[in-house]
């Protein structure tokens, strides 16, 4: 062998290692790696969706602005909504569920590891298909165009007559594809939680994170189906001349609304219940107390799951339903605030009398409690149908659901990031940067979404690319846009903190929070097989039992 060939091998070595590393990630069926892939994928789309939001807010900073054209603005709000719901919040929640569920129930992996990988790649493909519309949306004539029909794509705007080219088809197909991914993951979650719990973990001793994800998985199975059916019907309308939603041939616009919202409203709970799950793990640990009223927390979650299937038409109070229909949906919507309120009080009960440690995850959960309270109360305002006739489709509604999705769900997701980052990476995040992220985001969030309620009350509809001066909307829109820049800086601090801590953080150890659930009993990051020996548990807090043999939980449960 000549010296030349030795040198060549030496040069090739690192690139071979890189491709092996990539290959191992692309072909992985390990629930932890798939979880991390989901999370990274969601962060990528969070940044894309955030850029779209920023473009909209710059356009609305003053009346009659010319930053973007109406066509671009309409694409931005469509893509922002679709991206944030389907390609940020759902994947990130699936990612955490994937990573945490086997660890927290003492299993070695999900029930169907290959289905798991398949579901992830379907979801990923769905997102990329949606974004391909930017170059392929108008068909073969070169000029691309993203969907511009709004994230709930009301008929008949999606009919061929009003939406030419293929932008709407990209929207339909990408949701269809990622919907199959969601169904695969939901099946996997439900089966894993039902069948793979470690010895001793009866349903009543399961951590709330597992319970809530079980409810979420079951809901996904039910609610993705009408969405998928509606997308298939829309495809038939657009390609085969069916007339489900094509009003010019006698189809029904209201039918689409029913299909969409019987998916769309339970979907809110599909997203918020895993957020509740994070809060239900984080708040007890940083209050140093067990969750207050475990049985009623489970019951309230299951109740929310059921009731959420009966509230969808509160999105349709203005479409001219009969007074009886409106009354029914006002009632069901108000009723769902009861189990939701129970949860808030039980989290407060958990904190009451504890010794609160204000680490970053706990700060985000306290922010969540405060904002979810307000989101719930504006939700009650919207449930009063006549009040809704004024508020619906206005900026008040936009503010309300961002209070839910950002103020509640995203805050718990950030809490979860910081709480489980040491487990996932084996290193501690930087606490100072974490707190900076929290405060910047709180300021930005409240500047943006508190003041966004007001133009809605003053009659500003959503989805308008510009507005008339002199209606009292200018100052509020200016403040709202300023808040966005605080949020951008906060997100940069967050990503910077993750990247820095990934490589330079202090070693975290197995159990940095002195926590009580099984994921903290294995090493950080956990080995591929999770547990050298499958653990056996006697209570909901197995690590508490080990740490406090004189006062174990199983004596009281």
């Amino acid at each position: 062998m000549s010296s030349e060939s030795i040198a060549l091998t030496a040069v090739r070595e690192p690139s071979r290692a890189l491709s092996d590393w990539l290959y191992s990630w692309v072909t992985t069926v390990d629930h932890k790696r798939l979880g991390i892939l989901y999370i990274l994928y969601a962060i990528l789309f969070l940044i894309i969706g955030g850029i779209e939001a920023t473009i909209m807010r710059i356009q609305l900073i003053v009346p009659h602005n010319h930053f973007v054209s109406p066509q671009t603005f309409n694409q931005m709000f469509t893509m922002h909504g679709t991206t944030m719901i389907f390609f940020v919040v759902m994947p990130v929640l699936f990612g955490f569920a994937n990573y945490l569920i086997p660890l927290i129930i003492g299993a070695r992996d999900m029930a169907f590891p290959r289905l798991n990988a398949f579901s992830f790649w379907l979801t990923a493909f769905g997102g990329f298909l949606l974004y391909f519309s930017f170059i392929g949306g108008n068909g073969l004539y070169g000029a691309g165009g993203a969907p511009d029909v709004g994230w709930f794509a009301y008929a008949p705007l999606t009919a061929k007559t009003f939406s030419m080219g293929h932008s709407t088809d990209f929207w339909t197909l990408s949701l269809l594809v990622s919907g199959f991914g969601s169904i695969g993951t939901a099946v996997n979650l439900v089966v894993t939680i039902v069948c793979l719990r470690c010895p001793g973990m009866s349903l009543g001793k399961m951590p709330l994170l597992a319970w809530l994800n079980l409810v979420m998985g079951a809901m996904v199975l039910i609610v993705i189906s009408p969405l998928t059916a509606a997308q298939v019907m829309l495809c038939l309308d657009r390609f085969l001349g069916a007339h489900f939603f094509d009003t010019q041939a006698g189809g029904s616009a209201v039918l689409w609304m029913h299909f969409f919202w019987i998916f769309g409203h339970p979907e809110v709970y599909v997203l918020v219940i895993p957020g509740f799950a994070f809060a239900s793990e984080i708040i007890p640990v940083f209050s140093r107390k067990p969750i207050f009223g475990y049985p009623i927390m489970v019951a309230a979650t299951v109740a929310i799951g059921f009731i959420s299937m009966s509230v969808w038409a509160h999105h349709m109070f203005t479409v001219g339903m009969s007074s009886y229909g409106n009354t029914f949906f006002a009632l069901t919507t108000m009723i769902i605030s009861v189990p939701t309120g129970i949860k808030i009080f039980n989290w407060l009960g958990t904190m009451w009398g504890g010794k609160l440690q204000f680490k970053t995850p706990m700060l985000f959960c306290i922010g969540f409690l405060f904002q979810f309270l307000i989101a719930g109360l504006t939700g009650i305002m919207l449930s009063a149908a006549p009040f809704n006739w004024q508020l619906s489709a206005s900026y008040f509604v936009v503010a309300h659901f961002h209070y839910v999705i950002v103020g509640a769900i995203l805050f718990t997701i950030f809490g979860a990031f910081y709480y489980w980052f040491p487990k996932m990476s084996g290193r501690m995040y930087n606490e100072k940067l974490g707190k900076l992220h929290f405060w910047l985001f709180v300021i930005g969030f409240h500047l943006t979404f508190d003041f966004m309620h007001i133009p809605g009350i003053l009659g500003m509809p959503r989805r308008i690319y510009t507005y008339e001066p002199g209606r009292g909307w200018e100052i509020w829109n200016l403040i709202v846009t300023i808040g966005v820049f605080f949020q951008i800086v906060a997100i940069l601090v967050f990503v910077g903190n993750l990247l820095y801590s990934m490589f330079k953080g202090d070693p975290a150890g197995n159990d940095p929070w002195d926590a009580w659930t099984l994921e903290w009993s294995t090493s950080s990051p956990p080995p591929e097989y999770n547990f050298a020996r499958i653990p056996a548990v006697r209570s909901r807090r197995p690590l508490w039992d080990i740490k406090h043999p004189e006062d174990p939980d199983w004596k009281y449960e």
Binding site: K289, L356, F370, M381
Partner: protein, 339 residues
């Protein structure tokens, strides 16, 4: 904790009215001038008070817990007492919300019924509103009047109410009729007949706009409602019923209008123009705005609108007419004669 944001929100919800009480044309839902908006306003104040009370109670509990139960460095490392729950407390915070929900529900159901089940009295005005991309067509079938974008209705005297009942139709996509000070919004949906009613008790001009995303120019599908005194209204009706008058001075412009594509979409009564895709122009100059409120109705704006509609409303369905300067001026002068 984000207390500032919260109190700002709470304060702003209540102080919005006072901030802008002076400004004109603020379509504030808390300044109703008509009956359905009034009853909605009363209900919303009731809901706001209840939610504000709930907020105050829960927020105080949260703030107290955060302040009182913080871990202090001076304490020993012992865990606090482990409390697993309390059936009495949990029952309390289940039953009390149920009672609140019942109260809210009955208040809500009452208003739903009073607004939706209202029957038109004999003196009611009937209007058909048809939503188009991106403008409003208004037809008064009993009065024989057709107009666009600016709705005129009479003020209603409580002794002899003359409320306006609006039948809502759509020619293309979904739209929504929303004039916040007069009533809540109701959608205009193709293949469906919806309705709303207005019983105004103050004269004046009220602004609103389309509130259901309807396509590219959803933002500039503006809406004006003029609540006239009974005399103003009957004068307006009498004028609108007349066919268009034109003099020889504008004959050139009229000829160009009638020989170009204008007549495919626009109608002018008393002439050959009878298109239905665009607004009826018979009494164009009786309106203060053009392009569904996107521009004021002036000579320059009219000309610009005919020459290049995209410069006022990009994406509107009105095509650029490509007239030469002379013809453009003549057509504009003709349109300005349509009083």
């Amino acid at each position: 904790m984000s207390t500032t944001g919260g109190s700002l929100l709470a304060a702003s919800l209540f102080s919005v009215r006072s901030c802008f009480a002076q400004a004109s044309q603020v379509p504030d839902i808390f300044k109703p001038a008509s009956t359905p908006a009034d009853s909605i306003h009363r209900l919303s104040l009731f809901v706001l008070i209840i939610t504000a009370l709930i907020f105050a109670v829960v927020f105080c509990l949260l703030a107290y817990a955060v302040g009182k139960f913080r871990h202090r460095a001076t304490e020993d490392g012992r865990e606090p007492p482990q409390v697993y729950g309390s059936n009495q407390m949990e029952l309390a915070w289940t039953v009390v919300p149920v009672l609140i929900v019942l109260v809210l529900f009955f208040a809500t159901a009452r208003v739903i019924h009073s607004v939706q089940e209202a029957v038109p009295p004999p003196g009611a005005i009937q209007v058909t509103a048809i939503g188009h991309q991106f403008w409003w067509e208004f037809r008064y079938p009993a009065l024989g009047v057709v107009t666009a974008n600016e709705l005129h209705i009479p003020v209603s005297d409580p002794a002899h109410p003359t409320p306006t009942f609006v039948k809502l139709l759509s020619a293309d996509t979904d739209h929504s009729f929303w004039v916040p000070q007069l009533s809540g919004k109701t959608d205009l949906i193709p293949n469906r007949i919806n309705s709303l009613w207005i019983d105004p008790h103050e004269t004046g001009m009220y602004v609103g706009q389309c509130a259901q995303y309807c396509g590219t120019q959803h933002a500039k599908m503006l809406l004006r409602v003029y609540v006239d005194s009974p005399e103003q209204f009957s004068n307006w009706v009498a004028a609108e019923k007349q066919p268009a008058q034109s003099t020889d001075a504008v004959a050139v412009g009229r000829q160009i209008f009638e020989k170009t594509a204008c007549t495919n979409c626009h109608a002018i009564s008393g002439t050959v123009a009878n298109g239905r895709f665009g607004p009826d122009l018979t009494h164009l100059m009786s309106r203060e705005t053009i392009a569904s409120g996107a521009a004021s109705n002036t000579h320059e704006n009219l000309k610009l609108w005919i020459r290049n509609p995209d410069s006022i409303k990009p994406g509107s369905l009105m095509p650029a007419m490509n007239l030469n300067d002379q013809d453009l001026e003549a057509v504009t002068v003709y349109l300005e004669s349509l009083r």
